[in-house]
Structure formats: C-alpha cells, structure tokens
C-alpha cells in the first residue's frame, strides 16, 4: 500500500462526500417545506415614546432542517425623498427541529430627522420606499443568503385635519395679561393617542 497517494485520494473523497452530505441535508428539508413562518394574530406592536418609533414583529419559525439558521438579521429602511430611517434587529438564531419564537424589534429615532422632514411626516401624506432586508447563514455557516424586498408604501400623517378656529376667540383679562382661548381640533394617529399635546402660538400685530 502506498500510503501517501492513498491518504491524498481518501482525503479528497472524504471532502467531496462531506460537501455532498451537507448539500443533501441542507437543501432537501428546505425544498420539501421544512421551513414554516407564522405570524401570531395581532401580535405586532407599534409604539411611539420620546420620539422613538418602536415596531415589534413577533414570529414563530419552524425549522425542519438538520442545520440551524444562524446570524439572522432583519433590516428595515424607510426612504422618504432621500431621508432614510434605518433599523436593524438583533442577531437571531433559528434552531433546527423546533418552533422558534423570534421577536425582532425595530426602533426609529424620529429625532434623527431634519425638522422639515419630521414636520412633513407628521402632517403630510406621502410615499415612502420600504426596504426590508433579511440575511442569515445556513449549513454550518457555509451558505449565506440575503433576501431584499422593496416596495413603495403610503405614509399616513400622524396628525391630520388640523382645524384652528380663530374666528371666535374668547379672551379674558388676567391681571396685566390676557388669556386667549383658541379652539382647535385634529385627527391623530393611534400612535399618538393618549399622549399630551402642546401648541405654541405667536401673535403678530
């Protein structure tokens, strides 16, 4: 037996068999519907606090394959006329052979926006480009995949139908000052409901 050539040939065959086994074990379960993604009814949560818009998308992912799906990251970007709000979820792992409960959360700090853009988002209906990007690694990290989904979505203003009734102000003297009562009304997004509202008026004369 010539051990040198034999060892090299066995090594080559072993590597080929290893790759073949990884390919079969990774592709077959996924190709035969071994990956299921469910969204629990009404589980998504959107909140706005201290100028930070937080969106949560709880997911139930069943991985019927033989390998974990590692380093799964979801990025969401909103592009409005060149201004981008971007948020990336924490890295998640989808274990094989079980249902995984994932809770990717995305936070958008509206304070990062320019005042004019923030005002536009607050008061105006517009179109935005929503870009969702999902990436992860599979088959012991040997295969990486990236899925991007992009579409234009309608942005509903957080405050609409603002009506100020300056025609019938009532006022009363308060010492040396005058208290002026101005009635106003507006429709608010559910995100804003329950929050305090302030208004600043400047009288010019």
């Amino acid at each position: 037996m010539r051990w040198g050539p034999f060892a090299l040939r066995i090594g080559a065959v072993a590597m080929e068999l290893l790759v073949a086994a990884i390919l079969v074990l990774s592709i077959l379960p996924l190709a035969t519907g071994g990956l299921e993604i469910n969204t629990p009814e009404g589980a998504s949560a959107v909140s706005l606090q201290d100028g930070v818009l937080t969106v949560g998308f709880p997911l139930e992912v069943y991985n019927g394959g033989y390998f974990d799906i590692d380093d799964v990251k979801v990025s969401i970007a909103l592009d409005a006329n060149g201004t981008v709000l971007r948020s990336t979820s924490e890295t998640m792992n989808v274990r094989s052979g079980m249902v995984n409960h994932l809770d990717p959360t995305f936070s958008f700090d509206l304070g990062d926006l320019e005042p004019a853009m923030l005002a536009s988002m607050l008061f105006e209906r517009s179109e935005m480009v929503l870009d969702i990007d999902v990436e992860g690694k599979y088959a012991l990290g040997l295969v990486g995949a990236n899925v991007s989904y992009q579409r234009t979505v309608d942005w509903e203003p957080l405050v609409s139908s603002l009506v100020i009734s300056p025609g019938e102000p009532s006022w009363e003297e308060n010492g040396t000052a005058i208290d002026l009562l101005v009635r106003y009304s507006f429709d608010a997004s559910s995100l804003l409901q329950g929050m305090e509202t302030g208004m600043e008026l400047t009288l010019l004369g």
């Binding site: 010539r2 050539p5 090299l8 790759v19 295969v143 990486g144 992009q150």
Partner: protein, 131 residues
C-alpha cells in the same frame, strides 16, 4: 462532466417552461452551459492523455496536475464563483456559497497533489523499468 451539462440544460428547460426566462437570462444559463461543456472537454482531454503514461512518469504527473487545475476552473465556472443574485419584481435573492465551492476546490487540489505523490511514490519502479 456530462451530468452537470444535462443538469444545466434541464434547469434551463424547466425555467423556460415555467415562465422563468428572466432567471435564465440573469444566471446566463445558455452561456454557462456552453462554458461548462467546453471546459469539461478540456478536462476530459487532459485526463485522457494522463492515462497514456505509466505511474511514476513526469508526463502522467503533469497531465494529472493540469487536468485537476482545469477541473478547478471548470468547478469555479459551474458554481458561478460561489454566489448568485436573482432579481424578480420587488424581491432580490442573493446566495453566497463560496465556502462550499472552496471546500470542493480543496478536494480538487488534493486530487492534484495525489498525482505528485503518485509520481514520487512510483518513481523508482518507473526508472528501473526504463533501464
């Protein structure tokens, strides 16, 4: 070498039949099939000449190493360099399997090294047979 070409032809035919001409175009499958067939013939030709020479000869080793080098190029071409990108409508899918391709290239390199080891191992017998 025949199986990958048949596989590529089948995938092209299936995608064409299922309305996936866009993916056929994005993956450049017709050009890829031609390249894989051409490079495959180079590998077959080099392997054929390798078989002419006895174990221990430099010629066998040279053709063996050259055939494995060509097989490496063939594999890299067939695997499209280890990554593909598909775009359709609003979606884009990218798959990076460079590590898998590198593992297979490692196996090809071992096969190339085998011909060097085989020449060294059988060299004395070959020299003795010549004298």
């Amino acid at each position: 070498m025949v199986v990958p070409v048949l596989l590529l032809l089948s995938v092209t035919s299936l995608l064409d039949g299922a309305g996936g001409e866009e993916f056929v175009s994005q993956l450049a499958l017709p050009e890829l099939t031609t390249m894989v067939a051409a490079l495959g013939m180079v590998v077959v030709a080099l392997s054929f000449f390798r078989g002419f020479y006895p174990q221990g000869s430099m010629s066998r080793m040279a053709f063996g190493v050259a055939s494995m080098a060509a097989a490496g190029v063939w594999l890299w071409t067939f695997a499209k360099g280890g990554s593909i990108l598909l775009e359709g409508g609003d979606m884009e899918l990218g798959i990076d399997y460079t590590a898998i391709v590198l593992l297979l290239l490692g196996a090809v390199a071992l096969r190339g090294a085998f011909y060097v080891a085989e020449m060294l191992s059988y060299r004395k017998e070959w020299l003795a047979a010549r004298s």
